[in-house]
């Protein structure tokens, strides 16, 4: 029966090729626009660490006070060095790491004739690697002992390893960074969570993988500044000049991440935070009541507004566009099907049930949907190249035409046209055979 309906549908397409082509094109464009924007949206709004995200938390402490615009929902989005160190020393989570973005220049060793180049990295604690499930190609992260001893060790990306050491196991080799020698302890295997959750507050949410990681304690010794934001609006008095003055200042620039395995641990940590802020108030450092927050990973991404508003608006508008395409297809299908009311009358008179008429026209709609879906797929592939036009390169790179998206595109097209075909099919099924036959 299905193949018969398909034949009928093809016959009908041949009779009005213009109208059919119009419907296919409209569905194709509508589906492509919404799929392209959806692909970008999905890419930027995903959970970067699905297995662990519920156990990773970011504490926030208000060190600026209400007079500088702090509210419950608007706290400084990084910590002072003082607060970050106090919380690190509390060791209240299963694991914890302070982290800040750094940049430096690497001088390739003499053998390779390369000019020095700049590279981006992070200063972090040993727990960083275990907390965030960082995969290693060679070696491993440094130990807590290295943190304590402020050792000159470094973990590098496989890309940097390729560039400097031609991709061999470089563990134990020496790397020259900013005029200092570091011993490579590990080579990280293509690790680049998107969005880069641990650095969204500095606006480095999307982009290529970081090149290297080195111990926070060592970076502080070497006076390596943050490459991210440094916000001193919380300091009432001028910041004392010099590195130590900056460390002791109310400038916020350090991010802190804590791993808390269960609800009681989270509650305990929250208590610790408010107690800490209350203590600062007692000591006269804060002139306001304790204002602290603890976000989990996805809550933090949401709070920081990681998904660019452009992404959401374009999904919304493209969705509206698909809706118009759908309404349009309903109208055109209606026109197309009702033009054949006489044919329906004859089929009904010859014994076809309403169900048969329904099936016939839904198959016809689905056939248009398949064609529209294929066209939509083609246009989506074109649209993927267009994403670079609309979004920053880091975001645009994320949008890929995966098998899932291919399936979704065709599915959306077919189900949308079948949905569009429901009303015309219902109208066709209501055609009175006797009336149609009489009017012939």
């Amino acid at each position: 029966m299905f193949s018969y309906y398909l034949q009928l549908a093809l016959h009908s397409f041949r009779r009005s090729p213009g109208l059919t082509a119009l419907m296919v094109i409209i569905m194709g464009i509508g589906v492509a626009a919404s799929m392209t924007t959806y692909a970008v949206f999905r890419a930027v709004s995903g959970d970067p660490l699905p297995d662990k995200s519920a156990q990773l938390f970011v504490p926030q402490i208000d060190n600026a006070g209400p007079q500088n615009g702090s509210t419950r929902n608007h706290l400084p989005d990084a910590l002072t060095y003082t607060d970050a160190m106090a919380l690190m020393q509390a060791k209240a989570g299963t694991r914890q790491t302070a982290v800040y973005p750094i940049t430096g220049h690497i001088e390739p060793s003499d053998g390779l004739q390369q000019r020095p180049f700049s590279a981006n990295g992070y200063a972090a604690y040993a727990d960083f690697f275990a907390m965030f499930d960082v995969p290693f190609q060679y070696g491993h992260g440094w130990s807590s002992g290295d943190d304590d001893r402020h050792t000159n060790v470094i973990a590098i990306s496989s890309r940097l390893n390729q560039r400097l050491f031609a991709g061999i196991n470089s563990v134990g080799r020496i790397l020259h960074l900013d005029g200092h020698d570091y011993r490579v302890v590990g080579v990280i295997h293509d690790w680049n969570p998107q969005p880069r959750f641990f650095d969204v507050n500095n606006g480095f949410s999307f982009g290529g993988a970081p090149d290297y990681y080195l111990p926070f304690t060592r970076a502080i010794d070497l006076h390596i500044s943050s490459n991210g934001n440094n916000n001193c609006s919380g300091s009432a008095k001028p910041v004392t000049p010099g590195w130590d003055g900056w460390l002791r200042s109310e400038c916020v620039w350090v991010s802190l991440w804590v791993e808390l395995p269960h609800v009681t641990a989270v509650q305990r940590y929250q208590r610790l935070l408010s107690d800490y802020a209350a203590e600062q108030q007692r000591h006269g450092r804060f002139q306001w009541a304790s204002n602290v927050r603890l976000f989990d990973l996805n809550g933090w991404l949401d709070h920081e507004g990681v998904v660019p508003p452009e992404t959401k608006v374009s999904v919304l508008v493209a969705g509206g566009f698909l809706l118009v395409c759908l309404v349009n297809t309903v109208g055109l299908l209606l026109a197309k099907i009702m033009r054949r009311a006489g044919e329906v009358g004859v089929r009904r008179a010859l014994g076809a049930s309403r169900g048969h008429i329904y099936a016939q026209f839904l198959v016809e709609a689905a056939a248009i949907g398949v064609a529209g879906g294929l066209l939509g797929l083609l246009l989506t592939a074109v649209g993927m190249h267009g994403t670079a036009l609309l979004f920053e390169p880091g975001v645009a790179r994320l949008a890929r035409l995966t098998a899932g998206l291919v399936g979704l595109t065709v599915w959306v097209a077919v189900s949308a046209t079948v949905l569009a075909g429901l009303y015309p099919a219902w109208r066709a099924a209501r055609v009175q055979p006797s009336w149609q036959l009489k009017s012939q």
Binding site: L19, L22, I26, I29, G30, A33, Q67, N68, G69, H105, E107, R115, P116, F117, S118, G179, G203, S225, C232, S233, S235, K237, P238, V239, P241, G242, W243, G245, W246, P308, P309, E310, K312, V313, S314, L316, V317, A318, G320, F321, L323, V324, C325, V327, N328, V330, G331, L332, L334, A335, K336, M338, R339, G342, L389, L390, E392, Y423, S439, Q440
Partner: protein, 407 residues
């Protein structure tokens, strides 16, 4: 033309009529809001930066070995000397940031040191006596920095400028009476600085939170002695491309102990394109969607009206036989379309406002001005009329003989 018979015919086709009404309404809602987005974005990306963009480039430079302030000062001076000797270079200076760049310093501005919260915010640009000439900034009041006023500052020193040059936007913000010159303000936590000059316009660097004070900038007379610096270079007309190639080469040749990456040398054209990429892309996307949407709606109207015409061939024939002119038939379909379209745009106007309210609420979009809605409504009515013309004209050409012919 009698409306009643048309209305009753439409009631007969309520399914199709409702579809066109809905389609017109949705189209209006989306097109109006998309136009509003386009307007906002285009307005944003066409803001003048104040810089003479056609002839300025920026070179991001990083010296190796993290030089101390004194050596850094010497390096900077010799780099600027090198740059000024490159053929085609008019002038150059060193700074921490530049208008339209992707980051920089900002400070709160207070009238007095003990004022609890700042009166405004400002971008901070390190500058010297060459800055105005290099960027092509227009001084509208006061004077430029003198060479002997330029001080040195380490990366972790407190910014303590005695004299500053500010933009007109900042001057107007702080001193609405228009007398900013000679007044004293406090930048960040520094005691007062005297305003010695006002430039017409100099945009801030563009970050997520600089939007609210996008033309409020302050020039401070210091060399920032850090390991990284950015050189702003002005080229002679037509020689920009040459300077883009020669400038960095000359720097590396003079002193190879530095890093200037491939993305560190950018003309203002490139800087502008990168900064406003999203805005331009959004405007193009919205424009594209509007065009396709309007075409889709027009195609839908043509399709459905053609269907109605074909359904009513007999009635049209009868009317023609009874004396209706071609104009009557044409008028009939045009009026019918007008009725539907008016219904559509009325529903659409409400949908437009609802969608706009959602966008304003959720995505910090601007509130739609009523002018957009009115223009959109008129445009859609015209679109409907022009879409219906072809099928209506075909209907009017039907001969009265149709009445006697079986369908």
């Amino acid at each position: 033309m009698h409306i009643r018979p048309i209305a009753s015919a439409l009631w007969h086709h309520k399914g199709g009529t409702a579809l066109i009404v809905l389609q017109i309404a949705l189209t209006l809602a989306i097109v109006c809001n998309a136009l509003c987005i386009i307007h906002t974005r285009v307005a944003r990306l066409s803001r003048p930066s104040g810089v003479d963009e056609a002839s300025v480039l920026a070179i991001q430079n990083q010296w190796l070995g993290d030089p101390a302030p004194q050596p850094a000062k010497a390096l900077m001076a010799s780099d600027l000397e090198t740059l000024r000797q490159v053929p085609g270079v008019v002038d150059a200076y060193a700074s921490n940031a530049f208008p339209l760049g992707d980051g920089g310093w900002s400070k709160g501005v207070r009238y007095t040191v003990d004022q609890p919260s700042p009166a405004s915010f400002t971008a901070i640009y390190f500058a010297d006596e060459h800055t105005l000439a290099t960027l092509g900034l227009k001084l509208v009041a006061g004077r430029n920095f003198r060479a002997d006023e330029i001080g040195d500052m380490g990366a972790r020193d407190t910014l303590l400028p005695r004299v500053i040059i500010i933009t007109k936007a900042l001057a107007n913000r702080l001193f609405p009476d228009g007398h900013a010159l000679g007044k004293q303000i406090c930048i960040g936590s520094a005691p007062s600085s005297t305003i010695i000059g006002v430039v017409e316009r100099m945009q801030t660097w563009i970050g997520s939170y600089s939007e609210a004070w996008v033309e409020q900038s302050t020039l401070v007379p210091f060399r920032l002695l850090a390991s990284g610096t950015v050189y702003l270079v002005r080229a002679q007309p037509g020689l920009l491309e040459r300077v883009v190639r020669m400038g960095p080469q000359a720097l590396v040749a003079a002193n190879p102990l530095r890093v200037i990456g491939s993305e560190d040398v950018r003309t203002y054209e490139q800087i502008r394109a990168t900064t406003y990429r999203k805005d331009r892309g959004m405007a193009i996307l919205m424009g594209g969607i509007c065009a396709v949407l309007l075409a889709t709606t027009a195609a839908g109207i043509v399709g459905l009206t053609s269907f109605w015409v074909s359904q009513r061939r007999r009635q049209i024939g009868v009317r023609r036989a009874l004396g209706a002119t071609q104009g009557d038939i044409l008028g009939y379909f045009c009026t019918e379309n007008l009725l539907i379209s008016v219904g559509g745009v009325c529903v659409g106007a409400m949908l437009t406002m609802a969608l706009n309210a959602l966008l304003v609420d959720r995505f910090e979009m601007q509130r739609l001005s009523l002018a957009y809605v009115v223009v959109g409504m008129v445009a859609l009515l015209l679109l409907g009329q022009s879409a219906v013309l072809v099928p209506a004209w075909r209907a009017s050409r039907l001969s009265p003989v149709e009445a006697t012919r079986a369908t």
